[in-house]
């Protein structure tokens, strides 16, 4: 089975802190994604990566950056956490191609206080 693992299930951080959310997949997938899930808004794409060191902005990249130094790992970085970044963050991975589904991690619920 494909496994996408997010490093934390719950996180509480202070405003202004630099926050790292880590995601690891074990199926050698080319694509990795970070989404943010908020009630009534569904999943919104923050960033995705289609190869090591490659990244593309999604719909809401402001306030975030990403790092993909190894194929299996995709990190989301909140440079200076703010309360409006309190949300559920979902990591996903997929094989390249149009007809491929994404596999998701269990999510990280981040609270910024």
């Amino acid at each position: 089975d494909v496994k996408v693992t997010q490093s934390s299930r719950y996180l509480v951080k202070r405003t202004g802190e630099k926050v790292f959310l880590e995601c690891v997949q074990d199926m050698d997938h080319e694509n990795m994604f970070w989404y943010r899930q908020d009630p009534g808004l569904g999943l919104r794409l923050i960033y995705f990566s289609y190869d090591v060191k490659m990244k593309e902005k999604g719909d809401i990249p402001e306030g975030y950056s990403v790092s993909r130094e190894k194929k299996e790992r995709f990190s989301l970085i909140l440079e200076s956490a703010s309360t409006n970044q309190t949300s559920m963050y979902l990591c996903a991975s997929s094989v390249g191609g149009l007809n491929t589904e994404a596999f998701f991690g269990q999510g990280t619920r981040l609270t910024v206080v």
Binding site: Y35, G40, G42, R44, L45, Y50, L98, A102
Partner: protein, 114 residues
């Protein structure tokens, strides 16, 4: 631009009722894929089905069925004889050619009461 609309925010039914979750999409691409995912209370999205833009055949899998109609840009999901375990948030998603990402709707929260 691609867009997915799930107009039903929340649906509540009693066990054994049939329920249909609506999904309407927008894209100018002629080649695309549509997906449905289930998110149970545990939080992890689970893939249910994919359908490509050239295949309008409806699909049935047990109590689940999907109705794809290009004429109305809809990809609706029906659960027959719903069960409490069907309670979850359901997401419809769209993927278009020459693009690596997947765009999701806002989701529909389904509650099935015993």
């Amino acid at each position: 631009a691609q867009k997915v609309t799930q107009a039903q925010t929340e649906i509540s039914v009693v066990e054994k009722e049939d329920v249909t979750l609506d999904c309407v999409y927008e894209t100018r691409d002629t080649t695309y894929y549509l997906f449905w995912y289930k998110q149970p209370p545990s939080g992890e999205l689970v893939f249910l089905i994919r359908r490509n833009s050239f295949d309008e055949q409806n699909e049935i899998s047990g109590r689940y069925s999907w109705n794809f109609q290009k004429s109305t840009s809809s990809f609706n999901f029906t659960i027959t004889a719903s069960q409490v375990v069907d309670s979850a948030v359901y997401f419809c998603a769209l993927k278009v050619s020459n693009n690596n990402d997947m765009r999701f709707g806002a989701g529909t929260r389904l509650t099935v009461k015993p």
